[in-house]
Point group: D2
Chain length 332, copies 4
């Protein structure tokens, strides 16, 4: 039974806690949050202890940490966990700053502890099936990848201000998806963005609608479209066009119901947001992490995104920002 | 170039005329209609002559007739055409009365002229593909057939009165479909009906909503649902469940457009009615008929429904009527 | 916190146990099974006690029982639970014999304890949405209901022998669905069946393929098709045709993936069987039961099937058997 | 009855001839082709005359010309037709050279004759419905347009050599679609391309796989993906993401058939190529052109692409070529 300490008792932290509760091979041992009330409430619901950061890292019974606290705490927590030899699953981004992110990866590597980032979409059953189908080669070489990713509604302007911007905060997921699907590092990044959804986002210096094109050494191309607005649910789709066919992941909905009336056939909107769409993905990602900690995982870590891979997606996001400013294709 | 005489310049007759115009190997030579104005108008549009029935059958240049006049004229016209050795494509039903229908088939057989009924659904591309897929055997033995057939709106009550009733007028198409798909004559017919759409239909002694079950010697079963009302277009679907899978024909729509809004994803209603849904089917059926007349067809007459087969569907319709009255399964 | 005793530690019992573990308001207090090893294994996994039947009913801390043991134990357990004033959720059927089933309902009614049957499909999100949409009346009066229900593979012949036959064992779910959707008791039942899947089923005196038609006083009709074989997964579909439109529930699949190749577009088969298809339904059904026990439910018991309703579906199943033998429509 | 002269008796010319044959208000009067045999064969089939270019333009009975001959003849024929005051429907491109294309537009404008380009996709029923839905404003402002356009197989290398390259030959259709949907002239064009399908295309100096991004003054963005290879048919799709929803046009297929087996549900591939996909579009485009010539059309010419608009798409194609070379966003 693995003992896991959770940093951060917010929305994502609670998902991890609930998923730990469903595991026969791991338990939530401790919860750390700067808000003691939030920590206590979550800890009590799961029979866990509440701890300060220092107490947590002094606890010799821990096997792993899950970091779901605010981004500015990631580097410090990763470093401390690495120091203690604890396996780490950290929510993205590692850091908004590429150098500090690199430092986090380095410290984990030096300590020899596994460090993974919570790019949970890799564990979405549909995306995973597309990935595996393409990797198994039955469709031939990848030619073009098309990723559609649209949030249902823009975040509050104050979130935007500290989010690192659309490319590091939102598109980072799609850039990781592109990396994971492509299986090669893009060589060029072109980006364009505009503010069409909420003027406050533009005032905060960010965009809310963006298109990115990635190029690669093999000639494979990838297009990504992002928007902070989507009327019909959380739009998360993928198409991988290969020499011999296409593999596609469509949106899911709450039920399989269709209503036929004089106006036509109405099926349901896409699931509302990531909590619903990626419910299974969070559960499977945790399973993969536990498998790694228990030494039951192969060379691909069950598909978990390594710290090293997280640096690559951050570099792509940074290149996208430069491209949007320069109007030219940039190297990541 | 085959010379074809058309009896009946109504809605169906005009379809045949237009389809003849698109053929390089046949032409509309003459039009006969009790309404001279209708005959003239259609004949002029296609460079054809107008004829009386007697004139038509005195014309030695004719090769074939298409009978799209009212049902009560079918027997007389079939007999005269058979007498003249002309190939016959007759709109359904051959006759509402089983004995007269049998007599029509007999006269054509005696004369050795080909007699086909306009069960055009056999030429619908989707139904044809289901049929061929099942016949080719890749799905194994047929177990259950399910036919859904719903008209968009009830016909006028006076039409109902002379239509022969739902089973002979509307379900006859589905009974023919069942025969064609099954490839064996059903041994039992159960029917139930109610009047849910238009009380005038009930007052005319008919039903507007019906369910029929067919049984067969091999144990294969068939269910048919009919309604004279359908809000979302003309509902014409088929499923053939076999030992190793199912073949299904869905409805078609005008375009492939989908609108996604907060309410969900809206695709288009089914095509409005038979003119739209079976546009291709009429064209292909005519082609099959011309091929037969030109001696370019195989033993299956390109899938055309023979007079003999039309008698079988009439017998099934009659058995359905008896079953609705008796409450028991009836032999056809 | 409700204390629930579970009778039966088999496949269905384990589902209930796992779902209880996910509830904040109820707990699995005890497990009873004739196989002590099975009881102990399940009880230990959930921190529950193992009990004999007598011990269980002597336990004054229990609030409710879930009966998932073999059908022949249902009557005795329902009676004992009713005697002790415990709320009852019993897997279907109440009993294969209509009189004993009636006796179970009577004893619960006399004792004033709530008795519900595990017709879990009422809690399938898609079927529930169809039901609610139709009930809310936006589509007008129900005209025709069509239920497709096909198991992936036939059960072992020895199961068939003690199952009560296809109508009481398998179609009973669809008959309950028909009752629940129709909102009125059918007045006529027609059934036909054949043995197309496994000759051993026929030798056991049962059928494996059946079609049933229900008629009603309002004229609404219902058709049900059942098969013990289905190549493409567990086929569980519903269409409710109303005056102003249709509400349809389609099958679900594991992912939303589509592969496009020269052969066409391939989407996934239906979910394999009831454990996968009705995973959510079991969870929601348990929630509704707990709500009833806690007095937080309305007059419709959250949609749970009452013992009284279970008798109706049993009567429909019995009428279907009589109809298959008599070849005529039978009164339930 | 309009008299139309057709230049070019090739594949596209024959489509126009057949569509003219189906019109009650226009006729194919003459056919001109450098291959006299091709001209004669087509003319005879439709009761038209064969003419040389000079004879054709000397014929005072003509009302309009359709130019479907090779691209290098377009300018001369447009000029001559304009000189004679004849309405012109010209297959795309007007010319591969922007200056000569401009000259063609100028000469038609000076002569006051209507000049339209055969951007037939505007008349595809699905694309038209998306266009009209978006224009009617019910979905709010356009944010992002996504166009997928993939040919089933690469053209012969010698065609590629004289085609003007992927952007002027193939993507020109998508650029026109973008213009037509956007309703505003893009301000920036980014393009990337690679040769993944046929090395001979690369040797001819062209690409066979390309991604283009268009930006605009309003901030709306458009992405276009093109490939000369597509295993699953002719992939022609469109999504227009707006503030309040999305309008989407999917591919069409030959039938609505679905096969369900253990491997899943197989529906048909997309229609094979443009002759099948745009059959209706060609017919409707011709109708719109005839309406214009007969003075029965509104200010939008029924949606026909004007010569002026054709220049815009050519300018976008030229900018895409420049961008692919420069690696930066270019002004059209």
């Amino acid at each position: 039974m693995l003992n896991v300490c959770l940093f951060g008792a917010g929305r994502i932290g609670r998902i991890h806690a609930a998923n730990l509760a469903g595991r026969p091979d791991a338990r939530l041992a401790a919860v750390v949050d700067i808000n003691p009330q939030a920590a206590r409430s979550l800890a009590e619901a799961h029979g866990a202890a509440t701890r300060t950061v220092d107490e947590a890292f002094a606890d010799a019974t821990l096997d792993a940490v899950i970091i779901a606290s605010s981004t500015d705490t990631h580097h410090e927590l990763v470093s401390a966990a690495a120091d203690r030899g604890l396996a780490i699953l950290c929510e993205k981004p590692l850091d908004l700053d590429l150098e500090r992110a690199q430092a986090s990866v380095d410290v984990a590597a030096s300590a020899g502890v596994p460090l993974f980032l919570g790019f949970n979409r890799r564990f979405d059953p549909s995306f995973r099936r597309v990935h595996d189908t393409v990797r198994q080669g039955g469709l031939g070489k990848i030619e073009v990848i098309s990723i559609t990713s649209r949030d249902p509604a823009p975040p509050p302007a104050d979130y935007v201000a500290r989010s690192g911007g659309l490319f590091r905060d939102m598109m980072i997921h799609d850039l990781d998806m592109a990396l994971w699907m492509l299986g090669e590092l893009p060589t060029g990044v072109f980006a364009t963005g505009s503010c069409l959804v909420d003027p406050a986002i533009g005032e905060a210096g960010d965009v809310d609608t963006a298109t990115v094109v990635l190029t690669s050494a093999t000639g494979a191309q990838c297009q990504i479209t992002n928007s902070r607005r989507c009327a019909y649910g959380y739009d998360q789709r993928l198409e991988v066009f290969c020499a011999d066919g296409v593999a596609r992941a469509d949106n899911d909905s709450e039920t399989r119901t269709v209503l036929g009336t004089a106006g036509g056939f109405l099926s349901e909107p896409a699931l509302p947001f990531f909590l619903e769409r990626y419910e299974q993905a969070y559960r499977r990602q945790l399973g993969a992490f536990i498998d790694v900690v228990r030494g039951q995982s192969g060379a691909d870590h069950g598909g978990l995104a390594t710290g090293q891979e997280a640096l690559l997606s951050l570099r792509l996001a940074a290149a996208a920002e430069r491209s949007m400013a320069s109007g030219r294709i940039e190297s990541p």
